[in-house]
Symmetry: C2
Subunit: 312 residues, 2 copies
Amino acid sequence: MNRLTELFKIKYPIIQGGMIWCSGWRLASAVSNNGGLGLLGSGSMYPDVLRYHIKKCKESTNNPFGVNIPLLYPNVKDHINIIIEEKVKIVFTSAGNPINYTQYLKDHGITVVHVVANQKFALKCIDAGVDAIVAEGFEAGGHNGIDEITTMCLIPQIRSIIDIPLIAAGGIGSGGAILAAMCLGADGVQIGSLFAASKESSAHENFKNKIVDLTDTDTQLTLKEITPVRLIKNEFYDLIQNAYKSNASKEELTNLLSKGRSKRGMFEGDLKNGELEIGQISASIKDVISVKEIMNNLWNDFNLKKRQLISL
Amino acid sequence: MNRLTELFKIKYPIIQGGMIWCSGWRLASAVSNNGGLGLLGSGSMYPDVLRYHIKKCKESTNNPFGVNIPLLYPNVKDHINIIIEEKVKIVFTSAGNPINYTQYLKDHGITVVHVVANQKFALKCIDAGVDAIVAEGFEAGGHNGIDEITTMCLIPQIRSIIDIPLIAAGGIGSGGAILAAMCLGADGVQIGSLFAASKESSAHENFKNKIVDLTDTDTQLTLKEITPVRLIKNEFYDLIQNAYKSNASKEELTNLLSKGRSKRGMFEGDLKNGELEIGQISASIKDVISVKEIMNNLWNDFNLKKRQLISL
């Protein structure tokens, strides 16, 4: 279809975000088997767990898949060694400086993509020699940039300064939104929330059922002083807001966040005390469906909207 | 072209936002003369000034134009009476409840559009009987909703619950973005920042020159406790942030804002001590050009992007 699908050797320009507690081998292989690019989310995996998921993913699909590595997590080097040993061919890095690992990964024949949230980091990606860039807007779930730039503004602004393949992330929930991202200058999209709520997601059923019940005002970007994160406004979110009101220190806020909150919420299903990371587009998700259905819906809607535009 | 251009009897589905200190008769009539819908921004006008601008606008264009009325300003009733006396045919209301004035305006033969930032207020608009809705995302300049919903998410979410014409606002800075908004479900767009920096804008030259120098991280939404507003991070913005750090009361914050700050900044050109309202897309604006050039650029880019999509 275009240079992005050629780069990854995939049918549709659709990447499934490598999300903590959601993106295991079942989800990634299902996306790759249905024409997109599946990514394992290594951020919530111990090294041995990552190796297991890579092996299972290789058994489950003959199509390309990749691994997302948040560079702020402690096991980065172990993860990278496993990825090289297991001959994974695509890595998406995020939450860090692309200069640190891009060349090392490329020296091992790996295609490298880095996630950015402003123009400055897009230029760092070019300097680091990445193969493509994900530009992720303020509306995205989970960890996010501090500058609050939305997908609608970020994509054309990044496009205006880089020539390599560009993947839009944040707020992509339909085929119409994929087409919109392309109108803004993207070559394809990375989708998180829709896949977090899919049947193949490794998230807890409670979390998936919560996602499909959300309204348009139910998520918020918070904890900007530590590491900005978009999450559902539940009791845990209230705890954070109360900590702000009582002028909690950065250390106190970090402690609040770090007690296995994301595992508790997304993997164990504790909807009150857990951290529930999801994007603003979650309000458009109405059912927990399979990856196959999601991909079909996206592509049918993409083609429908394209035909409608042509008739304008 | 579509039901929105039919509703307003305009050539292009492009509305120029009725911005305080920017949208006088020169700007509104230029937009209307170039195929869009120009709006006077009554929020910064005394009643007599509004009447003068309406009269001048009528002299300067034979095409339809309208007036934006922020319902939170004190002169609302005077403004509405003048609009009726002067036989203005289109009114955009914002920053308030659409139920208050919609029927009264419609009884006088006026087409009424209301600006919303979430689904709940879109449904209130339907109940109030408006003719069209502007859905304005978090990236927009000036006054904004408290829910921080971005254009990418807001448009499909509003579209999914209403059938009347829908106008996307926030982050629209190119023909590609107009096409993107349509992919998301909008019938057209409202554009602010591009026109704020146009030659015909009544804003001070200092402000226009500042806009074209902005980078992607130079605006911020602040003052959420009083009335959320997106502005340039200048010395006045620092004052607000320092007030937050010293736990200023709502009253102190309101006092900070209310000392004619927006006039001082946008109309008188005090870039340090004035309030400078502009959208995130301002980073894409590189020159102060005429409305005619802006409209030509938008429509040429719209058609270019449409041709590119068709070839996908």
